[in-house]
Symmetry: C2
Subunit: 151 residues, 2 copies
Amino acid sequence: MSKPTIRTIRYDELVVGHRYGAGTIAVTAEEIKSFAARYDPQPFHLDEVAAQQSVFGGLVASGWLTAALTMRLMVTSEFQLGGGAIGLGVDSLRWPQPVRPGDELTATVEIVGRRASESKPGFGIVKIRTTTTNQRDEVVQVMVSNILVRK
Amino acid sequence: MSKPTIRTIRYDELVVGHRYGAGTIAVTAEEIKSFAARYDPQPFHLDEVAAQQSVFGGLVASGWLTAALTMRLMVTSEFQLGGGAIGLGVDSLRWPQPVRPGDELTATVEIVGRRASESKPGFGIVKIRTTTTNQRDEVVQVMVSNILVRK
């Protein structure tokens, strides 16, 4: 995969509307099938022939592989926080289009909110929208999530 | 992992409040680290010594590994649908407690809503709450999601 240049972002630089780019990552049939064999063993993720008979009409990645690859893109993106990206939870996660073998994914992280943590002094909570797209700029995942950030 | 007995559930059997159990799955340090190396390369998921210095005080699983293991538990659970479990999206995903090496996870799927699909005749949309717990009955993940089901 390719990587953008990385530097650590301070809490007060995390301004609503700012966007951070990521590199790209290629999706192979091998990874779709090996991920599915362990985590999501359904025919449309495991076997090309069985997948042709499914609603997808061909092999597709588990949504959880798309989510995991997006995490990989995010962790290695321009969106670099000092203490790492500690996920507090996800408000919404959608997969508008399936991911197929040969797809090349990238992601954009957009700041949608920021507030001080009430329970953890010295920490803030940043709400982000992470949009994952394929090589045709089709959106394959949209996630809104909350990240704990050291101030 | 252990598996419960499996039979396919009809759409009209998916009644609000019904719960479906799953087997168990053990989490190893090896899987935590190998998953993280590919999908979530942060020190607290990759290395015991670095993890001791983190807010977690030791090696913890990526939330995406917990989500993926929960999918495994769900796909092999009593909650068996005729055409597979096609996820339309997630309304909420929380990780109240971290998952650590040696944990043994199980999951419960509870039906929280059901309606006919407006765009796909012959299909329904079932809203479920999947709760993942460890061997001490501590909740490690709660997810509310929507599944497309053939009627």
